[in-house]
Symmetry: C2
Subunit: 412 residues, 2 copies
Amino acid sequence: MERFEAEYMLETAWPPEKAAAVIAGEQSSGTFRPVPGETEALKARSAARVEVLEELGPCAGPSLPGAAGGAYRRARLVLSWPVANTGISLPNVMATVAGNLFELNCVAGLRLVDLRFPEGFVAGCPRPAFGVTGTRALSGVEGRPLIGTIIKPSIGLTAEETAAMVDTLCAAGIDFIKDDELQADGAVCPFDDRVRAVMAVIRAHAERTGKAVMYAFNLTGEVDEMRARHDLVLREGGSCVMVSANSVGLTGMLALRRHARLPIHLHRNGWGYLSRHPALGFDYAAWSKLWRLAGADHMHVNGLANKFCEGDDSVMVSARSLLSPLSGGHAGVTMPVFSSGQTALQAHGTWAALGTADLIFAAGGGIMAHPDGPAAGVRSLQDAWAAAMAGVSLAQAAKESPALAAAVRGFG
Amino acid sequence: MERFEAEYMLETAWPPEKAAAVIAGEQSSGTFRPVPGETEALKARSAARVEVLEELGPCAGPSLPGAAGGAYRRARLVLSWPVANTGISLPNVMATVAGNLFELNCVAGLRLVDLRFPEGFVAGCPRPAFGVTGTRALSGVEGRPLIGTIIKPSIGLTAEETAAMVDTLCAAGIDFIKDDELQADGAVCPFDDRVRAVMAVIRAHAERTGKAVMYAFNLTGEVDEMRARHDLVLREGGSCVMVSANSVGLTGMLALRRHARLPIHLHRNGWGYLSRHPALGFDYAAWSKLWRLAGADHMHVNGLANKFCEGDDSVMVSARSLLSPLSGGHAGVTMPVFSSGQTALQAHGTWAALGTADLIFAAGGGIMAHPDGPAAGVRSLQDAWAAAMAGVSLAQAAKESPALAAAVRGFG
């Protein structure tokens, strides 16, 4: 029978094999007292199995309060479940791999670090409909990252003010623009008004230049709202919609994915509460896999030297996880979106660490606050990436690009 | 303009007023570099406001890694936003009050402890359609808690085996039964088969005794699946559906609520990853309010002396929060569900701490593993609650109730 696997970092004061058995029992056929119905036949068809239990040695612990006391140890734990338990259902996989287990008192720390699904499960999930290829086709950008930005101030601009900013950004040569996650359908800037005003500008530029800027409209809301908003974007000639993962949930995302005819730009806001304590919650590789299987075409990964507390290594591990295949038969690659305090100064480091240009590189201040204006901001990012990909240093490239030189002076 | 409020426990090494300003800016019109568009007029209509900042003194800190260094302090922080920013949209409120702020590097700890919404916002949300009154009407239980149980083993029983267990439980006089959160629509026990088999048993008992046991069928899944499953439960004469909050998300929940004609039993599995570190994530009072506004009729709160690591005080704070009104004009009370290691021994403590019987008291082993069988298990819970509510001690009550006496001996 096909099985899916979850890998955890476990911290416990119990003998690890006992803690592993309790976790496996709690998340399948076991309970805290023996019950007559848990027969061998039932366990054979439904019980979770401990596939790997590798002790990693003692630790100071406990990382989390409320745990049973003693000497704390860490272990790598891999559990598996029959696909028959959940069916090909991401919401039910979520309840299985990340349900009532973080609060078990044998657990002094528990982090879900990876998920692995058999080919048939992956094949049965929606997965990204556009990914890298589709996004490049719609945006017309090949051989380099999409250079993008976020409308700022995040919230408060009217539809007309937003459109005016989009006009400036289109004139500056931008590839991609997104709403902030705070901007969905507020009274000052209703979604429908914004789409109509922005798309009129984008269409006008496209008629003149042949380049249709991709704009990710934040349609986060209830299912019927998201469907109607998606349809409006499509009718107006738009090429992308955005949604907040932790606001809509997997079921909300799946409803959007089943309906959508446009790439889905998935925002991870709230990721901090899922991940910031290293002994609790999720690694991005595990969490993002659920959303990739649900159909996310783009996902945020923060950026090098960002304004948050995440380190550069963690950012790059996240980005690489999105580019790794979902299974042998289905790549299902999701484009990583780099953002947060990004300027032309991070292009070389990002390229060096990632080795691909299949990404969206979004800069806010790095474009709008460029000393020579937004067009120079976009140009500085393009030139920095071209130099990085050609093996030319930032210092060397800045000698030949006034926009890049100004970025180095202004943001360095 | 009407505003909603979020209250946080903040830990920071920055001057607290500076950290509060950064958080307020990040979650409304501010950004990490000044941008020209953030005018005074824009701020007046859209900026978050620091309503309260109360320093609570120094702490050892940092509770979370990655924070800016220095001397750590805690503070109570209340922010407010105009409803105009989000509209009456719970998914967008989520992105606003719990978005990109837990990972700010001025934050060494951040916990959302409460949410407060103006009357018009509450009135515009779906809220519980059944709550206490509707649940009592459908289950026919008045003046005492609903005595409930969870089908165990959690997963692995066939539909017919589940129905046989329901037959035993109905004969034992149970009020309420629920699926485990791991049991939704697996191959061994497909949802539709389970509903048909279980409801045939429940209807047969109801014809004989006049009592229709409430069964919460776990319909967690995609939107169309949930709607179809709900409709099947309704057609078969069922009176409750169950869904996993963290599997479906607020948008999934709202889609179910807009469609449902039955009470929604909301399961909180995964709550541990949202709450177990005390300086990160959510207090239950804040998190549950979003789900109550979305329409949860029942919500889990764990139980006294439970098998998890949560303390009794925390359980009772959670339960009380569900019973407190959503606003002056809309109580919107959600019935607390006590479960996890519950037996007749916890009735007195629960009553003493809560002072109401408007709850579901679910025991697994406390019923099925009662020394004299399930009927005695149910009876022991009823007798314990009757005694507690009448001011009769457990010891005294056990003298008059053999079922309770056996529970005291067996579980004490």
